[in-house]
């Protein structure tokens, strides 16, 4: 790749994340250490955003088409969610998780260099393309977070004492994630009407997106009805993420999805 050097961008990003995360580990030693750490993490994110923008310009199309391109966006959004959660709840562990996942995605993209292709099929050339995919990726990133928190909560339930703040944080993330999931689903429906003549065709991706939506819908109702019960919703949240993963890339392997417009390389 001579036009845009992904390893260099990814390297700088990874380094600033790593240093930032290490500094945050010593946040008790002083406010400035914590702030420098946060600054570094944000810097790493800005470098990744710069890369995405340059890629966008180079490809002359939004880099949102292939799995590798969506991984790139995850490695932007996950730390973003991590930073916001940190500002709100001061949870280091989730920042570490976010950075670790984002670094993993960068690593996968580094070891599987893609042949960035400029071509974009006409059906994807629409003003809906960017909002539809960005909103979804953001929703997935937030919901992935809620599942990790649920796993942490389960660990606490079985081996320690559940910290009430865990479920509260999970709930907040699910509400935000669900709002974005709804937007993504409906943007998709409005776009489909313009592109294919109908807003809903039970395309396998649509079906699984709807299932994901129903799973989180069920979770929210359960929590609302019996806020005292903790084990079941924690398990449900961990499992809901599996449905989401099937929706994200498992679809490509389902026999019912052979003719889907959403199967991407």
């Amino acid at each position: 790749m001579d036009w845009i050097n992904f390893p260099a961008y990814a390297g700088i990003t990874f380094l600033s994340w790593f240093l930032g995360a290490s500094l945050i580990g010593f946040s008790s030693k002083g406010k400035w250490i914590e702030n420098t750490g946060l600054g570094l993490i944000i810097l790493g994110n800005l470098v990744m955003i710069l890369f995405a923008v340059l890629l966008w310009i180079h490809l002359e199309r939004p880099p949102l088409r292939t799995l590798g391109e969506t991984r790139l966006w995850y490695s932007i959004f996950l730390p973003f969610v991590g930073i916001i959660t940190y500002f709100r709840w001061r949870y280091k562990i989730f920042m570490y998780y976010a950075l670790a996942m984002a670094s993993l995605f960068l690593m996968i993209n580094y070891t599987n260099p893609e042949t960035y292709s400029k071509t974009l099929m006409p059906a994807l050339q629409s003003p809906w393309f960017v909002p539809h995919v960005i909103v979804y990726i953001f929703a997935y990133a937030v919901l992935a977070f809620s599942s990790v928190i649920a796993l942490a909560g389960l660990y606490q339930v079985y081996y320690k004492q559940l910290n009430a703040i865990v479920l509260k944080l999970a709930d907040n993330l699910v509400y935000v994630g669900f709002a974005f999931l709804t937007l993504g689903l409906l943007f998709g429906a409005l776009w489909a009407k313009e592109a294919w003549g109908h807003y809903w065709t039970w395309d396998p991706k649509e079906t699984w997106a709807f299932l994901t939506w129903l799973a989180y819908l069920g979770y929210m109702h359960f929590r609302h009805f019996q806020p005292k019960k903790v084990k079941a919703p924690l398990w449900a949240l961990s499992v809901a993420f599996i449905v989401l993963l099937i929706c994200w890339f498992g679809i490509n392997y389902l026999p019912s999805a052979q003719n889907s417009v959403h199967v991407y390389s």
Binding site: P113, T115, S117, K118, T119, L120, M121, P122, A123, Q125, S126, D171, N172, V174, Y175, V176, F178, A179, F180, T182, L183, L186, A189, L190, K193, E194, A195, W196, G197, H198, Y199, W200, W202, P204, T207, W208, F210, L211, L214, A215, L217, G218, M220, H221, F222, R223, H224, F225, L254, P255, S256, Q258
Partner: protein, 418 residues
Amino acid sequence: MNKNKTIQKKKLWQHPWRYKESFLVVMELALLGLIFEVLTGGKGAPQLQWPVNAIVGVLIISSVGIIYYKYRKNPVIKWLASVPAAISAISFFAIVSLLLGFIPQDVDSGSRFVNMLGLSHMKNSWLMMVSGLYFLIALGFVTMRRSLPLNRKNIGFLLNHAGLWITIAAGYLGAGDLEKKNLRLVEGNEATNIAMNMRTGTMDELPFSVQLLDFNIEDYNPKIAIVNASSGTLVEEEGNTIQIIEEGLKTNLLDWEVEILEFMPDAFALIGKDEYVAKDSMGSAPAALVRATHSGSGTVHEGWISCGSFGVMFASLELGNNTILAMTTPEPQKYSSDLVIKDNELGDTEVRVEVNKPYKHKGWKLYQLSYDERMGKWSQLSVMEAVRDPWLPLVYTGIFMLLAGAAYIFWTGNKTKG
């Protein structure tokens, strides 16, 4: 029986009904749906059409309204408007969708059992109908219970619940009125209003006719790739195996340094020679003069390649080891049709219809669907799809309520339980 125990642990079917009762009801309903499907010979539930679907819709709304108004204290109605009923309805709908997501739809499954139970045509199966109806009834009652009297606090609740109700009800009931008709238009032919009804397979008349003036297609440049000569598939290894062609491009594909010496987007092969001439007319194909140099041994191959078309032969460059350097068929960047819409009342209108940019006419939307892919950019055929969906405004009302509701959820989070 111990009296204390009966107070603490209510018996099954004793009110208020909770999860157990809700899921037993769902199981009974599912069974009912399957029995109906078998009794009707696995043909699915009837698709309601105007005005029956509208009447059914009004009946559901008014009966939910009246029953709620008169019997809201009845324990069964209370249960229907409760969270356990909601969760059972969500789960029922989810299971039906799950079957839809796993079993290939609208193809003959080859299994009589699957066909009889409606599992290969879930969209219009009795199971879908029953689960949808249960969903709408439970959702209807809870919307009544929680939105009335309407105030600022429950506006978010109303937007989400009523919005979902309207979207699903209008989408399901309106499906029978959805018309999809395909027009096959050929350049140079007279205007036609005859279109193939995609549901019935009959040829129907549209209230306007359409003439194709010109079908346009713009292609991306083709790609160059190292391909397995016998299987025709990409040789996939670490690194680049495929690259878009541009004149003067120098790139590395696997162990080969590849150079595009000359590129013609439209060319014909000279018979008997390894040579091409640029010419933009019917049947031409892109061609490129390429040089490949092996980075290890320094072996050089040079020659013309072309992806070919119905007028030009496919040509590739052999690299040895059962691999060839080949050109892929160009992918379309955009395609569109220049049309004249002829209407007895409104006269003639010239429009361009392209993918993602349909044209609206008298309640119909005209979409660019496809073309003759074998002819590629020389296709004189353009397939348009005319779609009419009179229920769309209602569905969109529901969708926009849900969008507003999603913004509300994002803004307030789960702090307001009202």
